[in-house]
Amino acid sequence: MSDSTAVKPVSQDQNKGASALLGMLWRDKFAFVSAIVLLIIMAFAIFGPALLGDLATSQNLRGRNSPPFDLSRGWIFVLGGDSLGRPILARLIVAAQSTMAVAAGAVATALVIGAFFGLIAGYMGKTASQIIMRLADVIMSFPSLLLAVVVLYVLGPSIPNMILVLAITRIPIYLRTTRAEVLEVRERMFVQAAVVMGASHRRIVLRHILPVIAPTLITIATLDFAFVMLAESSLSFLGIGIQPPSITWGLMVSQGRPYLNTAWWLAFWPGLMIVITALSLNLLSNWMRVALDPAQRWRLESRKSTDA
């Protein structure tokens, strides 16, 4: 009885919540544009390789390093051709897939593992917490370059291994945040009430604590997505990340570097894609930090009434 009455308002509330959230997004123009840009890049990542995969690998030595903004070779060469005469625009769109796959995979893996151990460290006693935190310290101080090289030589270069390397280096971020939040949330009244009412540990953690800290984690993950993307491109740039024939934007920058003198656009465009994506993620994360925080949400909501 009490369950059925409780469920209905919640679902209505969620619908209202979603449309209110969209409204808030529309009101912050920077965040709105960022969201659109990210949707386009996601579309590139999902459909790009299927649509443009052949174009992106078709070599044409007569079009080597052909300059940008020259439509005589067709619109696909609008950003120029690379050192093997492949159209840069097509390669950018195709490279979106592995770039996004690595970043999304690493962030998701680090988020899940970090949040899991963070919940344990925050909820359980001092001993478990100490062990987990000291391990996180060691991971944080381990040189990520060495880790990348070890994985590259031992397990071989591939996208899953790249995700592994980046996820390991990012786990401590989520772990520390989750633990700090849990330590605070578990002292609050509603958690105490759940304990008194005899809720199981599992239920307390999953139903009462996790939903409260989830918005923080999602905001950090958005910000971290940009960071991981930059880290991946740095490793690929140094030659210890993704290896050809796979392509990511970072690898394209590194492949264009020898031609800086004669063909700047080889390294410029993929770098610009990284900047645009990271910028959008940063702007969106700034908006999310306010929008998902009940204490600060009024900043976005009340603007309508003050405008009117």
């Binding site: 000291r134 310290d137 060691v138 101080s141 381990f142 040189p143 370059l145 060495l146 880790l147 090289v149 070890v150 030589y153 031992v154 940009a226 930059l230 491109s233 740095s234 740039f237 140094l238 210890i240 970072g250 920058v253 590194s254 570097r257 800086l260 003198n261 700047w264 390294a267 410029f268 770098g271 610009l272 990284i274 900047v275 990271a278 910028l279 993620l281 940063n282 702007l283």
Partner: protein, 304 residues
Amino acid sequence: MIKLVGQRAIASLLSLSVLMVMVFFLSRLTGDPAALFLPIDATEQMKEQFRALHGLDRPILEQFGLYIRDVLHLDFGESLRRARPAIDIVLEAYAWTLPLALITMALVIVAAIFLGSIAAFNVGGVIDRGISVVSLIGASAPDFWIAIVAIVVFAINLAWLPTSGVGTPWHWIMPVGILFIRPFGLIVQVVRGSMLSALSAPYVKTARAKGVKNGPLIFVHTLRNAMLPVITVIGDQAAALLNGAVIVETIFGFPGVGKLMIDSILQRDFNVVMAAILVTAIAIFIMNILIDIAYSILDPRIRQ
């Protein structure tokens, strides 16, 4: 204070030992140096000789025992590639990284504190908005890309600055400028936020009421109280610089510890990798002590 330093030293020594053990065994997973340093048609006998010469033919646990023994005698082994003591090579590289890190950090601190305070004082003003833009660029643009664009613009097209190397002060401008962006973007935001909350404190109202001018109000009354969170972030960013700026040093051919690190990892020059990690850890340890001292100077409450 001495007790605090001692406690910290023990904690750091523990985690450093764990790290060194991990690095020792993991780095040996990256492959056999004999395959890399000898010609491709080297006979198996030559490879055996090479391994015997450098002690790489012994069981790995024995190698580890010997390494520990040598380290306790302050002998960090020889570089495979340059046949010189590894610690000398690392210290030479550090002599380049240290001034690079110090110059960059000094510029960052001065600029961030000055501009961040002014931005907090004029929220929404030109400087405030300019700072947001720089911070966003710092958080969004990969440093290798900024470096490449800077080379194309300033070295190739305008021919104002040299593309790479060291030697003249001109060679330092681009590396310092590019390393400057990210820490500046972060620290200036912290300064701004911290100043904003400090400026709303009652003592600021009192100071205003008794007619203190804006300049002294910001830089004498408020800044000192707003500095504690700033110093924490400064510590983090300085630690990153002391680790060596791998990308920037690689692009500009700067012979610092970041470039040494990536080169020796790729060349399987294990002794140099270990020595580099050790020296870096010591540098970061010293810096953390300095940060603690700065805390206690700024906030007398911490001293007890």
